[in-house]
């Protein structure tokens, strides 16, 4: 999500007490705290889950093969890892409660759906001069995976371990 671009309207989903009702709140600080706690715990956030048929187990990326073979993406494993992290956190669960919101992390800049467009739809395959900030297909693939791994501090696979994601052509 671009920095600083969150929708203020979403805040109201949790902070939904009308000012008129606030007059009836207890006066003491600790009474207010216990009231808040009870409200929060009563909000049952169900665990996120997905439909197996929506999420392919492996995705073969073989659009551009030059020095390396096709890359086999362990797609479902990635989705499971992300979901596990989100489900540990109420806020995480809340903000990703819509069905395909989490998918938008990688399948970005297009409407949420079970069948997001191919990366090559917007990122050109042929190497070309840069006229705007949009990367080409190779840069998009590597940037998306390696970029996120970098930010999340994932050590394996290392960014420079090329053959771990796609075998080298002999």
């Amino acid at each position: 999500m671009p920095f600083g671009k969150s929708d203020q309207g979403k805040c109201k989903s949790c902070h939904n007490v009308k000012l008129a009702d606030a007059k009836h709140f207890p006066i003491k600080q600790e009474d207010q705290a216990s009231l808040a706690n009870s409200v929060i715990s009563s909000r049952k956030m169900p665990a996120l889950e997905y439909d197996q048929k929506d999420v392919p187990e492996k995705v073969i990326i073989d659009v551009m093969k030059k020095e390396y073979e096709a890359a086999e993406l362990p797609h479902r494993k990635i989705v499971d890892t992300l979901m596990a992290r989100l489900n540990k956190d109420t806020l995480g669960k809340y903000f990703h409660k819509d069905k395909y919101t989490m998918c938008q992390g990688c399948h970005h800049n297009s409407p949420m759906s079970a069948a997001p467009p191919k990366c090559a739809t917007c990122h050109s395959l042929a190497p070309k001069k840069a006229t705007d900030g949009r990367p080409g297909l190779k840069g998009a693939y590597h940037g998306q995976c390696i970029g996120c791994h970098d930010k999340m501090g994932i050590k394996k696979p290392a960014a420079t371990a090329c053959a771990e994601c796609h075998k080298k052509k002999s």
């Binding site: 920095f3 840069a130 900030g133 990367p135 190779k138 940037g143 390696i146 090329c162």
Partner: protein, 369 residues
């Protein structure tokens, strides 16, 4: 006034020569039209945050330029443990640094293809040329191997074939000029898997870099390195780590090297042309002054001599006159003496005669007695 006309003119001439030299220096320095680059000049934007240090760019450069393969292959990442620089057959290197969070940062280093290159300015045989498409290309056929370009480059990029005894070349990144002419991308740019290198029109790249910094202000330092450094370079850098921590000089200033040297260099023709004439003139004047002094001295000596001669003549004449007088006196005296003697003699003679006469008479008397 104590000063002579000659001295005054001499001083005035010297002063005006100095003033003319200084004026021409200032004019040349200020009158340099600031060249903003050819309109289609290309560049490369290096996003240091994206570089993972895989060294594929080094490998591509080696392949594309048909350079000899190095000892350690390009997938040996242990070479990153040491800082490297460009060398005879190595146009570009990737170096690894540690940022303040102890995280690895990788930076690619190569010729920055400056807008107004110091190497081209220092080269007196015009071996370096800034092409309209941005590349600074090197012509080995005119190179004399003086290596002034290596001295001049503020980024220490040009390398030299020290091992080549008979025809050593200066080597550096060419921005893949031959590939650009064919419409291809530079080798390193094409191969970079992370698109840490993007190639395009320099003005566009600056916009892209500015945009990226604005979109992610927490991830980038708000500075595009190369936008203005040394008058601007074709290779631009953006980074999340401070540039001085990743081996990039931040003390270079924004004046290009040719602009810095244009002032003093422009003074050379006027110095070479004017000063010899002026100094010869001053020399001639002072030499003439000496000559005239010499002549005057001789004249004075001569006059003195003549005066002395005159004096001498006068004295001699005087002495002669005196001698004459003395002679005359002596003659007179002698004459007088002689006259006196003669008179005396005559007297004596008369006396003697008288005596004789008396004597004669006397004996007669005696007889007659």
């Amino acid at each position: 006034m104590g000063i002579s006309r000659r001295k005054f003119l001499g001083w005035f001439g010297g002063l005006s020569a100095t003033a003319a030299t200084a004026a021409s220096t200032a004019i040349a320095g200020g009158g340099n039209h600031h060249f903003k680059g050819h309109p289609d000049t290309m560049g490369v934007l290096h996003d240091i945050n994206k570089c993972i240090g895989c060294r594929k760019c080094e490998e591509a450069c080696n392949t594309v330029n048909e350079l000899p393969k190095p000892e350690k292959t390009f997938d040996d990442l242990t070479v990153l443990d040491q800082k490297r620089r460009t060398s005879a057959d190595v146009y570009t290197v990737v170096n690894k640094f540690n940022d303040s969070n102890n995280k690895n940062v990788h930076v690619k280093k190569q010729c920055n293809h400056c807008m107004e290159p110091a190497c081209a300015s220092a080269c007196f045989v015009k071996a370096f040329k800034k092409m309209p498409n941005g590349s600074v290309v090197y012509d080995e056929s005119v190179c004399v191997g003086c290596r002034y370009c290596m001295v001049a480059c503020p980024f220490n990029i040009p390398a030299y074939e020290y091992d080549n005894a008979f025809s050593p070349k200066v080597t550096k990144c060419t921005l893949c000029y031959p590939r650009l002419e064919k419409g291809l991308l530079p080798g390193c740019v094409e191969i970079c898997p992370k698109e840490a290198l993007i190639f395009g029109n320099r003005k566009e790249l600056i916009k892209i870099a500015r945009d990226r910094i604005n979109k992610h202000p927490d991830q980038y330092i708000d500075h595009i390195y190369g936008e203005h450094e040394m008058g601007g370079t074709s290779w631009l850098y953006i980074s999340g780590t401070s540039f001085s921590e990743i081996g990039m000089r931040e003390d270079l200033g924004e004046t290009s090297a040719p602009e810095l040297t244009a002032g003093p260099l422009s003074a050379v023709p006027i110095v070479v042309g004017l000063w010899p004439v002026l100094l010869t003139g001053v020399y001639a004047i002072s030499k003439r002054k000496d000559k005239i002094a010499e002549e005057e001295k001789e004249e004075a000596v001569q006059a003195n001599q003549d005066a002395a001669d005159e004096e001498m003549k006068k004295q001699i004449a005087q002495v002669r006159k005196n001698a004459e007088k003395d002679k005359e006196k002596a003659i007179k005296r002698e004459v007088k003496k002689a006259l006196e003697e003669a008179a005396k003699e005559a007297e004596e003679k008369a006396a003697k005669e008288a005596e004789e006469k008396a004597g004669k008479e006397a004996p007669e008397k005696k007889e007659g007695e």
